[in-house]
Symmetry: C2
Subunit: 365 residues, 2 copies
């Protein structure tokens, strides 16, 4: 069993796995990295119990087999290797797989290995024929992720819901005070699934820069994503979101359009002085102008922005500044703000991206 692989290829593969593989675990075998040599290449795996991950790397391989090496130590050694090429020689001890030699330039290591027998089986399912562009899937999750709850209460809101249908892939997150929704036009089988927010972050991390498409399979409480070089399986949450559509207002008394970034930056400035408990910021829509202001223990901040508006000439609404700043973050270019009244939910939409919609509930006066 021998492998020759560019240091860079191996280091990149390990960097994908490193965040998943725990550095400590009540089940210590999970801190090890399973390395498999096969005709398909060098296969690395890892799991944190919630997310299973497998990375396939092109390499020059002789022989086949599987061993476990201490993941953190192995990754440190690979990153610090002095040569551009890394050579791995397995099983030079009496039993095969009992020792791993790593050679790179003038540097030589003998690493103890462990038998793969006790390592848990990873939950990859065979994918069906449906596919999604990897980067688009990551994008849809990214745009709504901020709205997921961090509270124990109503645990289902600690996930991101994916709704697949013959017309779209929809991602939704909410914490009860705000909601974010993103639609990608797409033809899929109808199903709903809720991914824990932390696992959703891992999907984004692994696939956001990936080329090509991912095939997927849903079954037995898991979602498996199969890309070109990566397989990933995440445990799903049980249940689904309560009917959130009814909190999205359909009629509005005032609509305003302005540059999302100008509003976001203005809110950040003004919010420095807001009340530290509720981060309250007042928005006064007033005949083509938007005044934002906040007041707290240390003083008062104010900024005026120009807007295009229609509907009521004047309306004052108060929000948690952070909720507005979060809702604006995914919007490039202009934002359209639609108000249904001073105490009922407001809608934010990206003028240049019809897929995005955010709902923010105002603060009570």
């Amino acid at each position: 069993m021998e492998v020759r692989i560019p240091k860079r290829t191996l280091a990149e593969g390990l960097s994908i796995l490193e965040r998943i593989i725990p550095s400590r675990s009540s089940n210590p075998i999970l801190t090890y990295l399973p390395i498999e040599l096969s005709e398909q290449g060098l296969i690395l795996r890892g799991t944190n119990g919630e997310v299973d991950l497998e990375v396939k790397l092109p390499a020059e391989i002789q022989g086949s087999g599987q061993v476990l090496v201490p993941a953190q130590t192995f990754a440190q050694i690979v990153r610090s290797a002095p040569g551009e090429l890394i050579e791995l020689v397995f099983g030079t001890g009496e039993r095969p797989g009992e020792r791993l030699e790593l050679h790179s330039g003038a540097f030589n290591t003998q690493l103890s290995t462990t038998s793969p027998d006790g390592y848990p089986e990873l939950a990859f399912k065979a994918p069906g024929s449906e596919k999604i562009a990897a980067s688009r899937l990551a994008q849809a999750i990214t745009r709504v992720r901020y709205a997921a709850s961090t509270e124990e209460y109503r645990a289902i809101f600690r996930g991101v819901q994916l709704e697949m249908s013959p017309t779209s892939l929809r991602a939704v997150a909410s914490d009860g005070f705000r909601l974010a929704r993103y639609d990608l036009p797409m033809q899929l089988q109808t199903r709903k699934l809720v991914i824990p927010a932390r696992s959703a972050d891992e999907i984004v991390r692994v696939f956001k820069d990936a080329q090509g498409e991912v095939a997927f399979a849903v079954g037995e409480g898991t979602l498996t994503l199969v890309g070109e070089a990566v397989r990933m399986s995440v445990k799903l949450m049980e249940g689904e979101f309560p009917d959130y559509a009814r909190v999205i207002p359909q009629s509005f008394v005032l609509e305003a359009t302005l540059a999302a970034e100008a509003l976001r930056e203005g809110l950040k400035r003004v919010a420095v002085l807001s009340d530290r408990n509720n981060h309250r910021v007042n928005l006064l829509f007033n005949n083509g102008k938007l005044d934002i202001d906040a007041e707290g223990d240390y003083g008062r901040g104010r900024e005026e922005l120009a807007i295009d508006s229609s509907g009521e000439p004047q309306l004052m609404v108060a929000y948690n500044a952070q909720y507005l700043i979060d809702a604006l973050a995914p919007i490039e270019g202009a934002v359209r703000i639609k108000l249904s009244g001073p105490t009922s939910p407001s809608v934010l939409q990206a003028v240049e991206d019809a897929g995005y919609l955010a709902v923010v509930v105002p603060l009570r006066v």
Copy 2:
């Protein structure tokens, strides 16, 4: 009282002070920033009780006076200001200094201020005629700082000792297992002073990129440094280092020269596998070659380096790898390692910088 100042100038001044001013304190007035308007410019101050700092900024000023503003909030507002210019207007309330208005572009703030009456007097002494290039002082401290102790035991070693004499400024740090010494040729009055390591870090941070010279004054347990735009005063530790010169060996059985970076990188790689308790790495000097190796729970690492050597043909010495890596860090180019024996202290010197000397005590076999 009015000030007009470029945002960048003010933000840079605040960034120097921000690390000193505590965000919480049992004496809440220390979390405030004293702002003084004078003919010399806009003067900002801060103290953490150990280090007093004053920054003088060029600005267009009308009037004179002094107020306190909440430091963290003020810095946040300045950094987020939308315009290139910031205008500060003081004392628009009934009593002067009771309110501060900040204007920048379309953004306006009213910040509550506090009277400077309760603020402690800062301990700046009038400097004498002796001067040191600011960046050289920072350099001398930086090169030895790593060797300072973090243990409660023998508290004096938690400082950096500066020894001034008619021939040099010498910086020394030690934790009893290693020592670092740096000499700058210079003509100064003879005195010794010990700066707490954390305060030494602040001297480095403030002066490392400063142009010009600093004048200084020593007195009443403080060192005052006066640069062009900055005054700094640090509390000194009581006492001085015990006689450390006797641990620096004067005769050697083997001397070896090699590239410091190659040795440092090799040690880092090999150390990944070293014993996690003592970080032991073995150095075998052997007829023009240096073999470094370490062994721990996860395996063994080895690397061979070419050296120029004289003295004994062969010698094995073991060190805490981290101590060697630290001692090599200040050395650019080649390092000369001088061994006095397998268990007595070793000396490391920078071939291209006669000012630097490090002593590392080997591990017992």
